[in-house]
């Protein structure tokens, strides 16, 4: 019969025994549940309250890996504890059978055990604050369930609670503290009298020398002791070998057999010094649960990953940044090119101020990493916009006024300082110097609306409230009268006449605005278009004589009448009616000059208003333009403008253009300069001697509205809202040298010492000294056979080369320095002229001295010295097209059909490049430029023959200079015969400035020859200097 304990538990079998008692498997009779009864037969010396505490501590434990305690009772002398029955077997059994467990398995159990220990050790489980210490962890106290999990059983709670004389040390698994040994090195040494808690069974014989750090004091096992025991248990489970009892004798596990991390964890857990173990189960649990992460291989991989991805991320970022920078720069370059185009266009349209602004924007002052290098096009745009290299006197674009709509009329004050531009339907007043708009006057809504200056500050206009006089300084209307569109002012400024559209009368006013009277046209009307809003036929005359006595009016019926404003009976009827459709004219003193036009043919006549006779006239089959004022009568016909004497009919040329005159005006109050708008859409300026001053293109504007006064002119077209203010630009401050302008020449050169100047072409040479005195005039003999001329700045000498002769003229005296004739060939290089003599010797002649510096024997009909004698044999049908010194050596170029070969002075071939017919080779330090007679010159790198850039198209390259700042000056003759130079940047050979009429470089300055008797010079500006000039607002 089964034993019944406490009337509740039926003992099934005895399942174990140990130092603490016997363990039974029993059945809870009421619950019909298997339980474990642990019978503890130790002598109960514990006071009841201690037992209670033990029970309380145990019953509150609830953990997956710890058996639940259900009950506690005393029967007889035995204390029974009732707890969960854990199926399975304790781990010591398979160990005893020799089974070895796998590392993963042991690790898994270690995790479970540590979780259980962490729970146990937690301070919430009561007093003492360190929680519950198991104190007897060993394989025998670890159950392995059928599911492969563990359960930690058999707590030595009594030991944990500090009971005395408790035996619970399992050899090999018990920590040194269980034996009262303390290997911690931070506890003070105590003397031998300190009691050691030992047990006879567990006594470990040791001497002080063996445990150098052993301290004899009372030590109590704590959580770290459990750590040690767990470590020892794991040691046994892994290795199958129980660890040594003596902690100091424990052999570490083999890192070859087990993972080094696991070995380290177990070794640390089993450190004799508790301070060096894991200080808590959580800490050890952390180590165990982070084996993957802390594995050296994982760490190494992580390091590799971090370093490789860091490096690659760096390259990705660097690449992205570099690409971004490149992209921003490309955008910047494109923007710069676009802005430089805008600048060019603005300049073409006559707006230099905007051109400078665009050019500055194109140069991008805010330079940073993303800003591209300054484009040569931007530099050129600024140089061109500033006009720093345009030293020709003339009328040049100064400002641009942009009107709200197309211009109808333009007017300048007599001094030229105030301008008026009429559009629909207002007049804009502006300062011609600054371009500033000073005001706006509302006009009658008609294209006929007139504005006429009375004097420099007062004007009369066809205001919307009537004819008005306005003071431009006070910006106030002085008076207003009746409505008017057409307006006339007498030269004495005392009478103003106004006609409103096609009304049949004119109203006369005094300068003070008082009405002086009316002139009745007896029903006649001036020619006004049906819709006069947008078009003025410009076919009418409304003109007052100088004293206001007479008023000439033309009419739509072809009538032309001169009215006596004081006496209507005295009117002069020139035509009552006619089939003339267009009238022009005005008063010059007592004379009235006019032209009447029909079907393209015109009649011109001059009427003496005092004597009422026609003084003269003529008829032409082309339109005659007439302007008259107190200075004279001016006619235009076809391409000529003349001033005509009203009595003698004598004509003095005022302007002669190369195309028909559409419109003209003469500044009769100041300069007597004339501006002519031609059929070719150009505006041409002439001085009072009818000499051409300058020409401006109209651009896209139909340039037909012209005005000129003082230093200024206005150009506009009825198809454009843009009015260009033109200003006369003089550069006499840049004068370098004055010469006889009538002397014909192609080139003007200055010697490097600046003592002499030579003006020459293929026929004549004139030598001046620096004071302007002619040293010598030379007629070049046999000029038609001259094929080249070369000037040497060093000596001022001029070498004149023929096919079979050479003459060198002195730059000091003009005398011949050297003359060689009857030669087989002549070749020029900057270092000397090579001549092949008839005695089969080739000589090199120094241009500066005229002396022979070399003489060598050779064969053939052609030879030149280029570091070696280059003769027919070498050339082999090719042509020597250029040579130069290069460092200490020479370079020369030979063209053969379409290939040009570069050689060094020893005849070694350097490279080949394509070449066109009849080319010439020029050299700089780094490039060779091949310039064909017809075609575009091309620059190639001397280093490898790679193409650098094409140079100016459609012009003939005459010379190349290399400047000290690395830039290259290229000189050209245009197809129109104009000489100019292009300054190139030394790297890319892109144009950075255009220098029209440049003739020479002297001392870093460009010298210009406008063939008007003056040489002018200006220095070559750096881009920084140009920017400073631009910012200073000095556009010219």
């Amino acid at each position: 019969m089964a034993e019944i304990i406490a009337s509740t538990y039926e003992v099934i079998e005895r399942i174990g025994s140990g130092g603490g008692g016997v363990v039974y498997l029993a059945n809870h009779m009421r619950l019909n549940k298997k339980v474990v009864l642990k019978a503890d037969k130790r002598r109960l010396t514990t006071r009841p309250e201690i037992l209670r505490r033990e029970v309380d501590a145990l019953k509150n434990l609830s953990h997956t890996y710890i058996p639940q305690v259900y009950d506690f009772f005393v029967e007889g002398e035995t204390v029974y504890t009732v707890m969960d029955y854990i199926e399975g077997e304790s781990l010591d059994k398979p160990l005893k059978r020799g089974i070895r467990f796998s590392q993963p398995e042991v690790i898994r159990w270690a995790v479970e055990l540590l979780e259980a220990l962490s729970y146990l050790h937690s301070p919430i489980h009561g007093d003492p604050p360190r929680g519950i210490v198991h104190s007897d962890i060993k394989p025998a106290n670890i159950m392995l369930t059928p599911h492969g999990h563990i359960c930690l059983i058999d707590f030595n709670i009594a030991l944990a609670l500090g009971e005395e004389n408790v035996v619970g040390r399992s050899a090999g698994y018990a920590s040194p503290e269980h034996y009262g040994l303390d290997f911690s090195d931070d506890t003070p040494m105590v003397d031998d009298s300190t009691e050691v808690m030992t047990d006879t069974e567990a006594t470990i014989p040791m001497s002080r020398s063996e445990y150098s750090s052993s301290i004899k004091k009372i030590v109590v096992p704590d959580v770290r002791s459990d750590i040690y025991s767990l470590g020892a248990t794991l040691y046994h489970l892994l290795s199958g070998v129980k660890p040594a009892k003596n902690a100091l004798d424990v052999e570490p596990l083999s890192e070859k057999e087990f993972s080094p991390q696991i070995v380290k964890i177990i070794s640390r857990a089993m450190n004799p010094n508790p301070n060096l173990r894991y200080q808590s189960a959580d800490e050890m649990l952390y180590a165990i649960t982070h084996l993957h992460e802390n594995d050296p291989r994982t760490k190494r991989r992580k390091k590799i990953f971090v370093s490789v991805t860091s490096i690659l991320a760096f390259f990705i970022l660097a690449g992205a940044f570099t690409a971004f920078t490149g992209l921003k720069r490309m955008e910047g370059e494109q923007r710069a090119l676009t802005l430089s185009e805008y600048s060019h266009n603005a300049l073409e349209e006559g707006d230099p101020v905007s051109a400078v602004q665009y050019a500055l924007e194109s140069l991008n002052m805010n330079r940073n990493l993303f800003t591209p290098p300054r484009a040569p096009q931007s530099e050129k745009a600024l140089a061109d916009a500033l006009g720093v290299y345009d030293l020709a006197d003339g009328y040049k674009s100064h400002h641009v006024i942009k009107l709200p709509s197309e211009a109808l009329k333009t007017v300048l004050s007599p001094n030229g300082k105030t301008g008026i531009a009429v559009y629909a339907f207002a007049a804009q007043i502006f300062d011609t110097e600054t371009g500033e708009i000073k005001g706006e006057l509302p006009l009658v809504k008609s294209a006929l609306s007139d504005v006429v200056f009375i004097d420099d500050k007062t004007l009369v206009y066809a205001g919307e409230n009537g004819i008005s006089v306005y003071d431009t300084e006070t910006e106030k209307n002085l008076w207003s009268g009746k409505p008017a569109t057409q307006v006339a002012v007498s030269a004495d400024k005392k009478t103003i006449a106004g006609v409103y559209r096609d009304e049949a009368f004119a109203t006369l006013y005094g300068i003070d605005g008082k009405e002086k009277g009316m002139v009745d046209f007896a029903g006649k009307k001036q020619k006004v278009l049906q819709n006069d809003t947008f078009a003025d036929p410009e076919d009418n005359i409304l003109s007052l004589s100088a004293d206001g006595k007479y008023m000439a009016v033309s009419f739509s019926d072809g009538g032309l009448i001169i009215y006596d404003t004081t006496n209507a009976q005295n009117s002069i009827e020139l035509y009552d009616t006619s089939d003339y459709t267009h009238f022009e004219g005005g008063f010059y003193g007592r004379y009235f000059a006019f032209s009447s036009t029909k079907y393209g043919s015109s009649v011109f006549a001059v009427i003496n208003t005092e004597e009422l006779v026609q003084e003269g006239g003529f008829e032409l089959d082309s339109r005659i333009g007439v302007k008259a004022d107190e200075t004279g009568i001016y006619l235009s016909n076809k391409s000529t403008v003349v001033k005509i004497d009203p009595v003698s009919g004598e004509q003095t040329e005022v302007a002669y253009s190369d195309s028909d005159v559409r419109q003209f005006e003469t500044d009769t109050l100041n300069t007597f300069n004339t501006v002519v708008a031609t059929e070719k859409n150009e505006c041409v300026f002439y001085d009072k001697s009818a000499d051409l001053i300058s020409t401006l293109g109209g651009g896209q504007t139909d340039c037909s509205l012209v005005s000129i006064a003082g230093e200024y002119a206005l150009l506009a077209g009825i198809d454009s809202p843009v009015v260009r203010i033109i200003k006369k630009d003089m550069h006499s401050d840049a004068d370098l040298f004055t010469y006889d302008a009538s002397y014909p020449h192609d080139e003007a050169r200055i010697s490097s010492d600046k003592n002499t100047l030579m003006f020459f072409d293929y026929q004549n040479v004139r030598l001046y000294n620096k004071d302007g005195k002619v040293i010598k005039d030379i007629k070049i003999p046999d000029a038609e056979n001259v094929y080249d001329q070369q000037y040497s700045k060093k000596s001022g000498n001029l070498a004149v080369m023929y096919k079979d002769a050479l003459r060198i003229y002195s730059g000091k005296t003009g005398d011949i320095v050297t003359e060689k004739t009857n030669l087989k060939s002549v070749f020029y290089a900057p270092y000397g002229v090579s001549i092949l003599n008839n005695d089969a010797t080739v000589s090199l002649i120094d241009i500066d001295t005229g002396e022979e510096i070399l003489n060598e024997k050779t064969d053939g009909n052609y030879a030149a010295y280029c570091g070696m004698v280059v003769n027919d044999d070498f050339l082999n049908g090719g042509e020597l097209i250029g040579a130069s010194k290069h460092g200490d050596g020479y370079l020369f170029a030979v063209a053969n059909e379409d290939i040009c070969t570069l050689y060094d002075g020893d005849g070694n071939k350097l490279f080949e490049v394509p070449v066109a017919e009849q080319s010439e080779a020029f050299f700089t330090d780094s490039s060779v430029i091949l310039s064909p007679l017809h075609g575009t010159p091309t620059a190639y790198n001397l280093s490898d023959g790679s193409k650098k850039n094409d140079l100016e198209k459609d012009s003939y390259l005459t010379y190349i200079y290399q400047l000290d700042n690395g830039c290259v000056m290229s000189e050209y003759i245009s197809s129109g015969g104009e000489r100019y130079a292009i300054l190139l940047d030394g790297e890319r050979y892109e144009p950075i400035a255009r220098l029209p009429c440049m003739t020479d470089l002297s001392d870093g300055c460009a010298v210009f020859d406008y063939h008007k008797g003056k040489l002018r010079q200006t220095r070559i500006y750096s881009i920084e200097e140009l920017i400073e000039i631009a910012k200073g607002g000095d556009a010219k």
Binding site: P104, L312, A323, F324
Partner: protein
Amino acid sequence: MNEISSRMLFLGGLAVLAGAAVILILFLIVFLMGKIKLNMKLDMEYGENTKKKRNNSKGR
């Protein structure tokens, strides 16, 4: 840096970026494959449940 054309900068930068990105992708592929292999090896050595701490019921 000014002597290098903008186009070269852009293309060069793109080339470096693309090259580094390609290498990074290849590296990640190789690395991931290696990681999978190592994880399998570590799983064999340490078992799977070391990677996570299991939640356990706690008592009162």
